[in-house]
């Protein structure tokens, strides 16, 4: 089937099986920041924003994406908000192996766009679906806390 959606503000049209995972479609479209860590909705490495909401693209059938806006880090990294999150993670030291990082950046965007001034507890809750095996999370949480200050007014 043909599916049309907006990827990082560009219209795209793909011809695929309706049950194909959004994850695979995006990776075929060279969105390699979208990773497969588990394939079953548990790790968040495949996170993307679907109409602004954080979702695991491994659980989304492409047919349901018709007409939607999909944002991956490939698009998001060109924004001012990304610069703030990047600076936050740099200051906190929230990146080690980096495999989880694109998912956490988009999770941070989802948290901050919902609430520009989240508490530590709200951030923890907001990244609950994203696993990181390297950092122990606190330095990622600190990165998002730093980002909300650095990017004040952007969200």
């Amino acid at each position: 089937m043909k599916v049309n959606f907006v990827l990082n503000q560009n219209n795209v049209s793909v011809d695929v099986e309706h049950s194909n995972r959004l994850l695979d479609v995006l990776r075929d479209l060279h969105q390699t920041s979208v990773k497969e860590g588990c394939g079953e909705g548990e790790c968040g490495t495949c996170s993307v924003l679907l109409n602004g909401k954080l979702v695991n693209s491994c659980l989304i059938a492409i047919a349901t994406v018709e007409g939607c806006h999909v944002t991956t880090l490939e698009g998001y990294r060109n924004t001012k908000r990304f610069e703030a999150i990047k600076k936050g993670f740099e200051v906190s030291g929230g990146v080690q192996c980096g495999f989880c990082t694109p998912g956490f950046v988009l999770a941070a965007e989802a948290i901050l766009s919902e609430n520009p001034d989240p508490t530590t507890a709200e951030i923890r809750k907001g990244i609950e679906g994203n696993l990181c095996r390297c950092t122990g999370y606190q330095m990622i949480i600190d990165g998002i806390l730093a980002a909300k200050n650095i990017g004040k007014g952007l969200w």
Partner: protein, 706 residues
Amino acid sequence: MNKISESIKRFDFEDKISGKAIYTPDVHIEGMIYAKTLRSKVPRAKIVYIQIPTLPEGYFIVDHHDIPEKNVIPVVFDDQPIFATDEVNYIGEPILLVVGPEKIVILEIMDKIIIEYQAIQPILSIEDAESCSAPFIFKNQPHFVKYEYQKGSFYESVKCAKRVISDEFRTGYQEQAYLETQSMFATYDGHTVCVQGSMQCPYYIVESLKVALGWDESRIRVIQMPTGGAFGGKEEYPSLPGVHAALASIKTKRPVQLVFERQEDIQCSTKRHPTIIRIESYIDENDDIIARDIEVKSDGGAYAGLSSVVLQRTIFSIAGCYNIGNLRVRGTVFATNNVVTGAFRGFGGPQAFYAIEMHMENMANQLEADPIELRRKYFVKQGDTSSTQGIFYDPIVLDLIADEVIAMSDFNEKRLRFKSEKLKGIGCSIFYHGCGFTGAGEAELIKPSVRLKKDKSEVEIFISSTEIGQGVLTTMRKIVASTLDISIDHVHHNYPDSRNCPDSGPTVASRTVLIVGRLLQDCAIEMKKRWNEESFDIIQNYVYPSHLSWDNQIFKGNAYPDYSWGANVVEVEIDENTYEIDVKGIWAVYDIGTPIDSKIVKGQIEGGIVQGLGYAMMEVLESKAGKLSQDTFTTYIIPSSLDIPPIFSKLVENPSTVGPFGARGLGELPLVGVAPALASAVQQAIGTKITKIPITPEDILKEVQS
């Protein structure tokens, strides 16, 4: 703070934060095809026949017939085949690959392959192996190795004992759970095979390819790709998929990508060894410990892998941070038809320190002594000998470490208070990690070397150490730039490529900063002397320090080139309805010498502690009839952001004489001490002994009700 400890921006930061870093599964090149592994579904059997369907054009089977030289993965013993030939020994053992352009078609072909097995009675546990009379898996014996060593006069001293305090503990499997699964990519140009992938040890794969192909090194190239976590799980294991991808590429003459699914990865890659550990302390009339008898049994799975070396670390470490004059220590790794166990951050240390520290806790309770003060009485000091009778040459500051952790955590006050407060507890642990290869391994097995190249004002680092998230691409540059006293922007360092990087040894054993970093420092000192020359190369080889010695036959001497030290305190509260453990805080003090980058150090500490927390209370992984019951992230539960307690960590200053700028090894240490501190806290909270990890609410319920 030492200048070098000041944190800088990691050199791999930009690529990773922006999602531009290309990991192995992200590689896509013209003509690339895929490989998938067909694996044994039974724990032990003869393969009677394999029936392959007619293959569509462009699809291939790769199996043991395609190995030009030797069907073996060289580790310590050459017992593990690359592909099974006529028998299988564990669920998940690779039998063949199906290779071709479409993943869907590959799966269809795999579905149609029929394998007829003739079952053999499997050996499914340590107990099974102990009572098994045959047929054995490994040679003519139930075990891979069996060790014993003694210190002092064990048999004499136990005669003087007035009483014995003994314990038996069990530890479970643990899965590394790196977020990027095992991934390899191979190309072949008719002459050279090139393997790129997710790995810790490029030269292990070079060696495996040499053995499998019978080619000389000029036709073999291995390059590390950005690697999404490793934790030991990408030490020896990647040689298997690395050789598989290479064989597929050589056969098909196409680039081949081999990426594991998560379930496949959990089922068949190496795990932390489950153990049964028994400790007996012999006590005299003054309540002094005069001797210890220790026995370790571990489940090595179907092939020997690194199990012998892991066991060595367990039995050397199991004397703990204590100077007990008389020891008898025995250890056995049993061969079973379970998944192969191997390297995992801590490498046998976490099991050892869990057992010895729980035993110290139990002794303190039985002798009505303060748990830290009892330990303090026996702390090793500079000039003492280790369990293997090597002299500790450098200052050891365990007293300071203990004082700090007591003060930070309010240990004494809480320990007393929780005696009368229901379901609350606090526990401690004191531990070390031997850094570098066991014994004289650095000099005799590894023979590491490093290379520095100067070209006008630019300097480039060539080492085989891999960036697995721990910060190698940053820390090594810092060491070289600081030694040469030049701006770090003039120092370059890339992911290792066996073409231009000498073998600096594997990225394991908390040895990279300590051993490779020191070699680079020495190399840079030489370079500095010749700085006015425009362009040149220097290679620096490792030399075994003359004051150290090691006899690997009787396990006598300096078991490690250096040690790092630590103490943990964990406070818990148990939910009275669900029996879930609420961790209120973890306090940690370490002597890692001079930190090379404070932020990288903090990352290693917090990540290691959280992984240790998972090991202690969350990560249940059991083998039932040879099959792991928890093989997805839905069933194998690692800590999430909601599971982490507040962590307070601190470093004490005690520069190493071995490492560069006074640094010691760090990567593994923070995982090592968490489980015993947590388990001790749980014991105080519920008032009964728990003798296994991970501790689940069901375990607590059982203890509380009995």
